[in-house]
Assembly symmetry: C2
Homo-oligomer: 237 residues x 2
Amino acid sequence: MGPQLTGAKRALGPRDRAPGEPGPLSRDAVLARALDIINLQGVERLTLRRLAAELGVSPMAIYRHVANKADLLDGVLDLLMREADVTAHDEEDWLDWLCETFLRMRVTLLAQSGALALIVSRASLGPQGLGVIEAVLARLAQRGIPRFEAARVFHHLMTYTLGSVAMLGPILQQDPALADPDERARRIRANFELLPGRQFPQLTRHGAELAAAFRDDAFAGEIRRIAKTARIGEENR
Amino acid sequence: MGPQLTGAKRALGPRDRAPGEPGPLSRDAVLARALDIINLQGVERLTLRRLAAELGVSPMAIYRHVANKADLLDGVLDLLMREADVTAHDEEDWLDWLCETFLRMRVTLLAQSGALALIVSRASLGPQGLGVIEAVLARLAQRGIPRFEAARVFHHLMTYTLGSVAMLGPILQQDPALADPDERARRIRANFELLPGRQFPQLTRHGAELAAAFRDDAFAGEIRRIAKTARIGEENR
DNA sequence: ACCTGAACACCGTTCAAGT
DNA sequence: ACCTGAACACCGTTCAAGT
């Protein structure tokens, strides 16, 4: 949505995405395939050689469209954010808008097994990520929230969202069955309760409560709480 | 401090850590060297072959003490937590105790360039990490905080801490000079302010405020705020 | 029990060459 | 301009062998 930050365009020629990938390679075609590999097989399986093989091309052909592997990863992360387009919804109330945006951000980052690893290893969300920050700050400014407050609230929301992904992501990666919230809660609880009770008396006792803290609505509740603090003017010293 | 979770013991024989690493290898000697490599050269340079070379040994010798590379990474993460020993301080007030614990956790994870990547790729903090959770829950229980509240507060503190590391870690990695808080603030601010102003009017305007949100005391303030919510009984619906 | 050497199936990347 | 082939310097890991 809106003007793209990279010069790349989606291939719109006569043959678009036909199976077997005919026509010349484009940067976007390379990135799209790379994202497919990440989604279907995980980041650690994304390899220049494998990517080339899936595109039916020599490993070196990819270097025409991508500077090196780091550039490939940057591109994939940016494509991920572009496709997720987390601010593309129409909540009217500013609080609902903030919550929905960060809920989508979290889902996006959790869906791709290695998105967080990508963020942590690269040093930013990329241009598309900057676009999200821009949109959030604009919304807060539009509501008349002072600059310092807006920056503070954005930073807290983003921090909490990334933290939540860091907490939950590795768990989800273990087993696709854990996408189901009930199954997830049962497993997390069991993980704690099955620890040696003598060594970890608290952990074994708190299994159910710790599992509950991983629930999606616990995240949503905290995001809303953080967002709400934006109304208060100067209070934190 | 306290009984170790792994059976491993620090080598205390006649020749302890002499240069050139004499005597037979031990799991702990291998892990210690691996941690050195991570600290001095970064995680991505931690390689079984390089590790072997630094230990003056054949690559395969390492497999006597470590199942595979994943096991090596788990071991290093555990060693990291063991050495940091974030609960080994004596704040008396429970609030101060919580804050100090998570401040130390953050510093520990930020200090090692790849600690977060380790956590995100492995699926837990390891046994030593569990020990930290145990200690935090014990402290909260001792204060008479109900189980559900204790789990909730711990989860929030941990989430926020990991998020903070995810936000700041990649920035610090770019340049060692950024360890200095003032230099860091200046650079973060410049990064935002130098963006194309037409595309990112908010980001360029909010540079100073966004940079301020990355300050250590902003983190400390939020941690304290989260910890304080533990006093309130049943309020969140 | 502990270590080594050679080998296998991979990596990312460079360079010279093809069309 | 775009792609290929061969090569280089690496990976993790297996297997048979040494002491």
